[in-house]
Amino acid sequence: MSSRQTLPVIIAAFVLSVVFFWWKATGSGYHIVKRVPGMDNRPVQVHATDSVAVGENFEFFAEPDLIAEGEWVCFRGKDRDNISKENIQVAENWDTSGPPVVWRAEMGEGYAGAAILNGRVYVLDYNERLKSDMLRCFSLSSGTELWRRWYRVEFKRNHGYSRTVPYVTDKYVLTMGPRSHVMCVDAVTGNLVWTKDLEKEFGIPDSPKGKVTPEFYNGQCPLIDNGKAIFAPGGKALMVAYELSTGNTLWQVPNTDSMRMSHTSIMPMTISGKRMYVYHALGGVYGVSAEESDQGKLLWKTNDWNPSIVVASPIYMGNGEILAFGTYGAGTAKIKVSRNGDTFTATVVQKHKPNEGIAAEQHTPIKTGEYIWTVMPDNSGELKRQLVCYHISDIQKPVWTSGRDLRFGKGMGPFIMNGNNMFLFDDDGGLYLFRIEQGKATLMAQHKVLNAIEAWAPMALAGNYLILRDAHNMICLNIGKTN
């Protein structure tokens, strides 16, 4: 290499070294900060060790005055489809005062809904003064409180306190509280039958994934099926079944994938001729056999759909397809469950964001025939907060929408059906009555029945009585035709 060729290299090297030393000397460079766990100064989380005497207190007030007809036995009704099958003559028009208010009751702050059977209304309230989960039994016809059973359990308000709907049979009422305490009581007398503390029974201490109660507290509503009380606690067990009359453990499914309890509820489904319990946990979706021959057997699972927070429960679309929903913009997944002999497999076949197709932030959509109805969440673009309808063949293009001039609160209020009537309660307290025909809805009546704050609880419809609530007040409306 000649000196003519080496000179530029030497000059370049010199310039570069000058720049480098200037850069080092002046300290002008990137200020790099590591983002690592622990920068929020959170101390080591200690699992709750408080001892809760579940169901310890009881107070009797009155015998029921009149046994009104109608039932709504659990979250989304007996068939878990949110459709009342009773023959109700619904008033199609309301006068200026709206549907008549039959009774009102003050509640602790929360979103717990009602279960109804044999003229009694059951609500798992939270009494803020006594710091207690409180199962309250009311007369359906008058709203008179008949009895209450409660237990002290302290926790901090975090979007209210109460969340779940009890399950009631002729004999028992089953509840699960915000901190995963289970209570089974006599449905008539309120006598305590058995209790469980799922946090204690299934929690794995010092393991973040071994926590039972999820963030914002438990929203899973209990399930009773064929004399069994069924829960999906996470921690040590994916799912557990207790004998309803005794509380004895019948079976439990080991939790090998460290899935956690979400805010959804267990949904019984029959897929490819097999009856199963489907649960959308934090960490995945799975199905457990509900048939006597192999009950408690894990049939399938998928971890390919894993939103951070899940509230709306999965629904079965038919043809082996399940819709699973996520919150905070996660969107929706379609899961295909296939059967080959005794073997089931699940595959996520479609995912979309809330602005790309059907979505549910809080309340589970309703499927009627081949149509699915939902109120779209706030993050679903032009459809936000609208009532929309999709055909099961295309879950991305709605067949009907309520339109940009008819949106509902923040899109997080409940909706319920009877026959071809749909009641929609927006989270600001407006009640709407729609007539549903195939994939179309017609607004029949509307009225602001509550000056509501966060009317997020599921509604209950039994006979002519529609029970709804906001964060603090429960009201019972007569939605039947009057002479």
């Binding site: 983002r35 959170r42 973040p208 951070s308 919150t327 996660a330 932030e361 993050n379 008819l406």
Partner: protein, 203 residues
């Protein structure tokens, strides 16, 4: 007699003083009023947080890099949640400050432990580039306390704001310079909900 003269003197003195004050007050206040009027006639750009959809155009359309728009937190609306959707990304493996769990691409949101299960969230404005990801996530289901605002220490107050020209929701507006921010607050949110409801009922 002497007492009477003294009284007259002090009365004169009183009227003289009162007259001076009566003349001086309006004369002195005129410049102040004029200055105030002139100042209030100066307008600056601001984002209406109730119209903003956090589309992300504030990040890319501002003439400044990084944008003069920054995220801000309305503390009275904030839930101080452990799972803050504005702080943690979807599918976060743990609810902590690990980079892999955070939603903000530049780590501009900081959180500080208050008590279980509550955290205080603050914004490092130097890092925030107005992408709006946290704002959208917070309003999806959360309380909607995170919102975008134009920071007047940075904004050069262009005659035609480039963000205003592209904003799809028409959220950028001119506001008086003496009330330059349109922060979210709890009362305003409730009133707006009520107004929306009234409008709906009327229709």
């Amino acid at each position: 007699m002497e007492k009477r003269e003294n009284n007259i003197k002090s009365r004169r003195e009183f009227f003289r003083k009162a007259g001076r004050i009566t003349l001086a007050v309006p004369l002195l206040s005129i410049p102040a009023l004029l200055a105030k009027k002139a100042y209030s006639e100066v307008y600056v750009w601001q984002i209406d947080p109730y119209k903003c959809t956090a589309c992300g155009l504030c990040k890319t359309s501002c003439v400044l890099t990084p944008s003069a728009v920054k995220c801000t937190n309305a503390y009275e609306m904030c839930g101080y949640c452990d799972f803050c959707p504005g702080f943690l990304r979807q599918g976060a493996r743990a609810y902590d400050t690990g980079a892999e769990n955070q939603l903000c691409p530049v780590g501009a949101i900081k959180r500080k432990f208050v008590e279980e299960p509550y955290f205080e969230y603050t914004i490092d404005e130097e890092l925030c580039d107005a992408c709006g990801k946290c704002v959208q996530a917070c309003s999806d289901f959360g309380n909607g306390s995170l919102h975008l605002q134009i920071m007047h220490g940075l904004c050069v107050n262009c005659n035609q704001c480039r963000i205003a020209r592209v904003c799809p929701s028409d959220a950028i507006k001119r506001v008086p310079a003496d009330v330059p921010y349109m922060s979210k607050d709890l009362n305003k949110s409730i009133t707006r909900k009520g107004a929306a409801q009234t409008k709906k009922t009327e229709s």
